[in-house]
């Protein structure tokens, strides 16, 4: 099964022999007379007609038949030699170094055999009209050439002989029609000596077709390229490792469709949507896609939604319900355990099964460098995940050929497959320092857990174990009970489930400690930077212990409460200060305004309170929104001036400038800010 085998060597020998024959019989070629036709052949080979199926069709057959009918066999061989060389070099982008003499000779051999048989047929039909001669001549040539080509791909790549034959026969109609129309017309006028005009006429006719087909094919290519680029961008966002998965899957699909003789008019669509099959992943949260190790049950559900999302996107692009269904079901499994619909066997759309195969193939090719491994892994999936009939078609030769097609990237260390695997022993060892006790539970039915003391935990484990039995797939879930947090891994066997239950409360406590110590260091940094003006409190209690006697408070709900808040505070500012210290007054109003605005922007609603201590006015603002990012504070204190246009929302900076002291407590549960102003509150009370 390689390029040089008995069959192809024979073909190339025929090719060489025909050149030798042609040179020996050179005297029989009227070079001057046939020059226009040779010119025609060269042009047709340089600008082939592109067919919708993506294949190229050179009209040069027209030239061969004219040469054969008008001038005989030998000039036709000269035409073929020129045509073969031109079209071969064009395919290699005119790069001499890439030329392979053997391939040229074997291609030549195929054409020579075809034209010989075609010539014999046309000679035999001599008494009949030139239309019949040309039409049948074209048919014989194309048919023989096709069979010879199929023989070559059978011996080289191993595709079954006569693969896709019905479809290829249909395509024969193009050359046959073309030759039936052009060749007789040409021949009739040759005799009149108008050969140059005739060549120009035929050229114009063919170039028009080529021009039109070119524009159409270009649009198709643009569509494919943009699909590939879309998917590459979204893959790049997910991780470097994924880049190229969509494009490669599309490439594999194209090859598979050829192998499976899938109808040509739907091929470009299917390849295109195969490329885009994972586009829905771009709508999922990054954590899920980049998470190392197994997903929890909730995460798993979210991950699975990508098939539906992709399908919706495809439907929005194409308006094609069938195509949307192809993509929707690309994660169904042949045994019915897939998602989103749990379809089984032949109920899964054929196209979805093909996409699933290409998807797995791509993953296997990128994670295994050994082709035999890829084949074995693939066969393991047969009947479980993938359609066994499709898998049957795949041989080692095909995998070798496929690896040449995909864009290679550095292989991953170890296997990182689609199937989720158990966490490695090392990971367990690493974590064991932080985790609490782990127990192994066996679940058969709802009596199995009876001995558990924690009823709340038991009630949560039961339904999850039942779920594990139903879907017979491993998963884990995080469960809370009695102020403890557990991680429960479910490993279903035939009729029972192994539950590994780990108390992760200590690990979470450790994380909380880590957060606390981070906050403590920020407290020190900020205190130093702000010259003790800002105090970061680890507990809200610290602030509340610091409060003086309450004067007033109000709820903050809407934007209009910003000015109401200022008015409220104004009531408790001594008249004397208002008159003598307008600047101080302005600072108090400003700090209140910023504090309340901050609250409305980030927490929706909260509370403003006014307290007093001797000579100190206290403004206390609390909310239950998401906390403020403490790590921003040092920067804000160090860089006092803001001249950039982003200086809007510099509320905290203004509070820092305006207030005499600030205490802040912030956590995910909310934020409390105490603003203190030194005033002479003689009339306080």
């Amino acid at each position: 099964m390689k390029e040089k085998n008995g069959y192809t060597i024979l073909l190339s020998l025929v090719g060489v022999a025909s050149i030798v024959y042609m040179i020996r019989e050179w005297h029989s070629i009227a070079l001057f007379a046939i020059a226009p036709i040779l010119f025609l052949i060269v042009l047709l080979d340089l600008f082939p007609v592109r067919l919708l199926s993506g294949e190229e069709y050179s009209g040069s057959l027209v030239g061969f038949l004219i040469l054969a009918l008008a001038f005989g066999y030998n000039p036709a061989i000269l035409g073929i030699v020129i045509s073969t060389i031109i079209s071969y070099t064009r395919k290699k982008n005119f790069d001499i170094r890439q030329m392979n003499l053997f391939r040229i000779c074997s291609a030549l051999g195929k054409s020579v055999i075809s034209i010989y048989l075609s010539y014999q047929v046309m000679e035999a039909l001599n008494p009949f009209s030139t239309y019949i001669q040309a039409g049948l001549g074209a048919l014989v040539f194309s048919l023989v050439y096709m069979l010879l080509l199929a023989g070559a791909s059978t011996t080289i790549i191993g595709t079954p002989f006569l693969n896709d034959m019905v479809l290829k026969l249909k395509e024969l109609i193009v050359p046959v029609l073309l030759c039936t129309i052009i060749v007789p017309h040409f021949l009739r006028h040759i005799s009149l000596g108008n050969i140059v005009y005739e060549t120009v006429y035929v050229l114009l006719f063919l170039l028009l077709i080529i021009f039109l087909s070119h524009g159409f094919i270009r649009q198709l290519q643009i569509r494919m390229k943009s699909s590939e680029e879309f998917i590459r961008l979204s893959e790049l966002r997910i991780s470097q490792r994924n880049e190229g998965h969509g494009k490669n899957t599309g490439i594999l699909c194209q090859y598979m469709l050829e192998l499976l003789a899938y109808p040509k008019k739907r091929r470009t669509d299917l390849v295109n949507y195969t490329t885009l099959h994972d586009i829905g992943k771009s709508l999922l949260p990054m954590e899920i896609l980049t998470k190392r190790g197994a997903l929890s049950l909730t995460e798993e559900k979210e991950y699975q939604s990508h098939a539906t999302e992709s399908s919706n996107i495809i439907y929005a692009i194409s308006g094609d319900k069938k195509a949307a269904a192809w993509v929707l079901h690309h994660h169904e499994r042949y045994d019915g355990k897939g998602f989103p619909s749990g379809l089984k066997g032949q109920d899964i759309p054929y196209e979805s099964r093909i996409i699933a195969l290409c998807n797995h193939l791509e993953h296997l090719l990128s994670s295994h460098s050994d082709n035999v491994d890829v084949l074995h892994q693939l066969q393991r999936l047969s009947g479980k995940v993938l359609d066994p009939k499709l898998i049957q078609r795949i041989t080692l030769e095909i995998i070798i050929a496929l690896r040449q097609l995909v864009i290679t990237k550095p292989l991953l260390e170890g296997s990182d497959l689609i199937d989720s695997e158990l966490p490695s022993v090392d990971e367990h060892k690493e974590m064991s320092g932080f985790t609490g006790g782990t127990v192994l539970l066996k679940y058969k039915d709802h009596h199995s857990l009876q001995e558990m003391e924690d009823i709340h935990l038991k009630n949560q484990l039961g339904p999850l174990a039942e779920h594990a039995l139903r879907v017979s797939e491993n998963f884990y879930e995080v469960i809370q009970s009695n102020q403890k947090t557990f991680e429960a891994h479910f490993y279903p066997e035939n009729n029972w489930v192994a539950i590994v239950l780990t108390d992760i409360t200590p690990a979470l406590e450790y994380r909380e400690q880590l957060h606390q110590s981070t906050m403590r260091s920020y407290k020190d940094v900020i205190e130093t930077l702000s010259k003790s003006k800002i105090d970061i409190c680890l507990e809200q209690q610290e602030i509340e212990e610091h409060l003086g006697s309450p004067l007033a408070n109000m709820d903050i709900m809407t934007k209009s409460d910003v000015s109401s808040g200022r008015s409220l505070v104004m009531e408790y500012i001594p008249e004397e200060l208002k008159i003598n210290q307008p600047k101080k007054l302005m600072h108090i109003k400003l700090a209140v305004s910023e504090g309340v605005t901050n609250l409305i922007k980030h927490a929706a609603h909260g509370k403003l309170s006014v307290y007093s201590k001797p000579n100190v006015l206290q403004i206390y603002i609390t909310d239950h929104g998401s906390g403020i990012p403490i790590h921003e504070l040092p920067k804000m204190i160090l860089i006092s001036g803001y001249s950039s246009k982003r200086s809007l929302g510099k509320g905290f900076a203004l509070m820092y400038t305006s207030a005499d002291r600030i205490m802040v407590h912030t956590s995910s549960k909310g934020t409390s800010i105490l603003l203190e102003f030194d005033v002479l509150l003689e009339e306080a009370g």
Binding site: K559, S560, V562, S563, R566, P582, K583, M586, K589, L590, S593, E594, T597, I600, K601, G641, Y642, S643, K645, S647, L648, G649, K650, G651, L654, T657
Partner: protein, 103 residues
Amino acid sequence: MFAYQIVTDEVQATIYFEGDIDIDAGDVLEDEIEPAVAPYTNIILNLEKVFFVDSSGIGLIIRLVQVLQELGRNVYIEQTQPEVMEVFELLQLDEILGKEIFR
């Protein structure tokens, strides 16, 4: 409390602001004032009766000025109270909008 009045002649519109400018003034500035003055070549923001502006209010003023300047209008801010000017300076408004805008 925030209120305004617009006085116009053929080429010029003067907006007389009155009261505090904070986040609550946003809708009025964007939906009423901006379209009303946009057609005029010269637009003057008179802040004589504004005694308080906070950072949100300044954000709104910056936005209004920049939108109008992008339309090719000449925009000026005049008769700013010293207290308000101090907040402008705290946020370096003169560097953002350019000193020549104040008069």
